[in-house]
Symmetry: C2
């Protein structure tokens, strides 16, 4: 027996329907500690609330308690949403268990739309990539103090998201397949320059620790036939295996190699990163790095909750399931 359409069921409705006070209903529904409510009353309240289809009015809750219990996740304008969505789903679920909710916003640096943090006033803003000083200032101007990653140049725990494992696995995979001289296919896309640098750094470290010669780094986009030039350079440097920044870069390398009459992986082995779904569709299919996005989501949620409540949450960690997906482009 739901109330008429358009009329919201309030806690007062539940109370009135039971002949109780609104406070009692509130105590039951919030499980307020320090209040004594008999089991019988509790059950009656819960049953009646369910029967009437009561839903707390979030705006009123936010107003009263002064906090929206909202976490805003700002996703950069990367073309990797296929994986991010899994991450978001998991983070959302984790936050929900703690009474928080996740709202995502894909952020356009050039965008004109007003950022969501101005109107949702979330308790925490989490970004996949660090925010610019201007953005941080804008958030602080809205009263938002909990920002992840923090404004410091380098996050306190280096690589808190455990994303440095991928490049290491790329290098080790090619090394295991017998490749000694490796190239790195970079993108010139300014939006992800930080991420490129991070992955390149990790790849360099991995190569060094395996005793391999320095990586031959080449951009594969930006200029016309940049990928073709990169492939030429790698051939001259006797490079036989290429670590690509991501799957798009890998695809560009493979495309240039094929168009140049080379065999992949026979003449040049290539491994991408992110395990974008289309990697399996290519000819040859593209080896890549699968990331534990679910774990990453849980990790982000834990970070956000820590910031919001001050209480740490047990966090399963993220980097356990980062793994190589071997396909044809490296000889699978």
């Amino acid at each position: 027996m739901r109330a008429g359409v358009g009329k919201r069921v309030t806690a007062a409705d539940v109370a009135r329907s039971l002949g109780l006070s609104r406070a009692t209903v509130g105590f039951v529904l919030n499980g307020t500690t320090g209040q004594r409510i008999s089991e019988a009353t509790r059950d009656r309240v819960l049953a009646e609330a369910a029967r009437l289809g009561y839903r707390p009015h979030k705006a009123a809750q936010a107003l009263r308690r002064g906090s929206s219990r909202l976490v805003l996740l700002v996703i950069p304008d990367w073309p990797v949403d296929f994986s991010v969505s899994k991450c978001v789903e998991e983070a959302s679920h984790t936050l929900e268990e703690a009474g928080y909710s996740l709202v995502t916003q894909t952020h356009h640096p050039v965008g004109t739309a007003r950022p969501l943090w101005e109107l949702l006033d979330p308790e925490v803003v989490v970004g996949f990539a660090p925010f610019t000083p201007e953005e941080v200032a804008a958030m602080q101007g809205c009263g938002i103090t909990k920002i992840i990653p923090g404004p410091e140049p380098r996050p306190s725990p280096p690589d808190p998201l455990g994303l440095d494992d991928g490049p290491r696995l790329q290098v080790e995979h090619l090394h295991t397949r017998g490749h000694q001289r490796l190239g790195f296919a970079a993108t010139t896309d300014a939006r992800v320059s930080g991420l490129v640098a991070s992955r390149l750094g990790a790849a360099r470290e991995a190569a060094a620790s395996l005793g391999l010669p320095p990586l031959v780094v080449r951009p594969v986009d930006g200029a016309p036939d940049a990928a073709g030039q990169a492939v030429q350079d790698w051939l001259h440097a006797n490079v036989t295996g290429v670590v690509a920044y991501n799957d798009d870069s890998a695809a560009m390398v493979i495309g240039a190699a094929l168009r140049g009459g080379l065999g992949v992986p026979a003449d040049l082995a290539v491994i991408g990163h992110d395990d974008n779904p289309y990697t399996a569709l290519f000819v040859p299919s593209i080896s890549s790095i699968r990331i534990d996005y679910a774990g990453l989501g849980r990790h982000l949620a834990a970070l956000a909750l820590l910031a919001a409540t001050g209480r740490p949450l047990l966090d399963g960690g993220v980097d356990a399931a980062t793994a190589v997906v071997a396909r044809e482009s490296t000889g699978a």
Copy 2:
């Protein structure tokens, strides 16, 4: 001179600081009609509000006026976010000019996270794809009545988003290139079955109106080597051109053809849909359909505003810029 961090500046603060009543401040800041406020007072209020850094408390506004001025855009779990983001940006901008804000949610049918419409109570929920009856019921249970597309089987204006143009252009493109017997590459993904049916229907209409024989429809995923089988079937049916549901389907067809020793486009021409960025990376590169996502965004925003306010908004339309992007897979 901003108030101390953590303390919100309210309209009452502005009023107190000027020795005015809170109502006066409210009238000025809302531009309430039917109230007489002297120019001098108005200026003083605006200046003081700016000086103190006043930001209206959205939760309080939503509580008081009973409407969140929020539009929730539910994006299905499609891997097309590259284009959706442009659409969202544009819709967001259009809505903003009308005082509304856009929040997006990528929706997972199997997801366990509670949908955002339960906690943001948006005025309008807009979906790229029609909602299931269960979803519609869930929304109505939360008091949300304005849902786009509506629950009726077929939206009142057929194809309100103007998305039927793409398949027509695909068919016409192949026809122009001399192909008579066409195939249609479908996906078995249940999440997009409605969209597949819609695109297939449009393609069939286009083929019929050109006097072409019926489309040979085959799924290209779901079963192992479904794409390979589809290619075989098309060959036997003398099909030389394939209209793919989207770029992924196109890639699967091309992959299967290449692995079967066929030439693309020499033996089989293929055109995708959505102009996914990776279509340019394939070998051969994949012809596709570019959609005017910016226009689509404006159109969606206009629909949402119409539902929210009842007043129609002038709408530039969407289908003008849907266009073929000719690449190698159809002989460019």
